[in-house]
């Protein structure tokens, strides 16, 4: 029984499907949330996430992206929690202080979450020093041109471009539907 079937059964009121979904997804969601929030908050957010999933199962469009759907709900619940707490509390969540203190930021909680999520996704590219990670760091974080990166890494520019392409593809997959978090870095 795949995830889409489970959610369809949840929409029909089957609580055993929710239990199964929890068993499959709660742990990786917990891992991702734990990197951004303290323990008690992780448990609260997880609880609200699955309750929201239960109530909103009817609105899910089956595309095989159940993990991403759940992660989207989790993000919203985390943002709600942080917003309720207020700016002072957000400092305890391993997020950059300048971001949480700025009043003119559109939504500090959202931005902070997005930033943490990006850092998490970049980690999914591979361990520090792996080809895609290095290319990402040099080309996008340090904003160097292709030729310079090729020289620094000692590889042809074509290789740099293809690694960059692969990195972007990986990141897109992670950010869109959370699949990389379940399978680990490729």
């Amino acid at each position: 029984m795949d995830d889409d079937d489970l959610v369809a059964r949840m929409a029909a009121g089957d609580d055993t499907a929710l239990r199964e979904l929890f068993g499959r997804h709660a742990s990786w969601l917990a891992v991702r949330l734990r990197s951004m929030l303290p323990v008690a908050d992780v448990e609260d957010v997880l609880q609200e996430t699955f309750l929201a999933a239960w109530r909103g199962a009817g609105g899910y469009r089956p595309q095989g992206a159940c993990g991403g759907w759940l992660w989207g709900i989790a993000r919203r619940q985390a943002a709600l929690l942080l917003r309720r707490r207020g700016p002072a509390e957000q400092a305890g969540t391993a997020l950059p202080a300048d971001l949480t203190a700025r009043r003119d930021a559109p939504d500090p909680a959202e931005t902070a979450l997005a930033r943490a999520e990006l850092a998490d996704a970049v980690a999914a590219l591979g361990p520090d020093g792996s080809p895609e990670r290095e290319v990402w760091r040099l080309m996008y974080e340090q904003d160097r041109p292709v030729a310079e990166v090729a020289e620094l890494l000692g590889v042809p520019p074509g290789t740099v471009k293809s690694r960059a392409h692969r990195a972007r593809r990986l990141l897109r997959a992670v950010l869109r539907d959370g699949t990389a978090a379940e399978g680990g870095a490729r």
Binding site: G23, A30, L46, Q47
Partner: protein
Amino acid sequence: MRDTDPGLPQGQQAPPDVDLGRVWTAVAAQVWRRRPGWLERTTGRLLRSPGLARALLTTPSLLLPWLIASIVVLAAGAAATLNSGQPVVALLAPAVAAAAIAYSYGPGVDPAWELSCSMAVSDRMVLLVRALAVFAVNAVLGLAASAALGGPARSGAAAAAGAAAAVTFGWLIPMTAVCAFALAVATLARSANAGAAAGVAAWLITVLSGRVASGHFAAAVTDTVLFLPYLAIGVTCAAVTLFATRIPRGSYR
């Protein structure tokens, strides 16, 4: 029987300080919870006990199928009264109530009865509340059936109206006696069937002997001489019921 989260798939490791079991229990508590209706909530506040309210509203003879059956029987009685001129409703109502009350409490009715005897909401309290509620509901049903007949019966002289009133409401007192009797038998015999049978049989005998004594069926409900004996029987049987459901004091030292 475990305190870990359900079905953790192979290879997935939750962070060690996150208690997924506790999270799931909190989710399940909300998903599984039963939300009582307004009647149960109100009753719970009135009785100051949500448990007592739930016990009351799950009384077998207060459930919808039983109520519908009672209504059908009394409606048939009303039709029979109109057709035959005999006060069928007045004669039926006590029997219907006796059966209902026998089926409100006790081992014949409650499969988990022994467990109920160890509950903080005492089984005697449940008995009291259920018996009163069943009696009240049946009285109302009987009154409704009688009132539906009130139109045709009331056309006539005041004396006729008085007699009609006696027939309309006079069955309430015998009903009390018959119900108390049925309940006493049910608690003593520990069987709802026995109580129902005893109540209905006793009422049948009363009606028939009234017929024999004075020539018409309605004697059992209209003969005011009988009211005191009825009440005496009612009180005695109530006392018997209380005695049968006691936990004697003084035996614990």
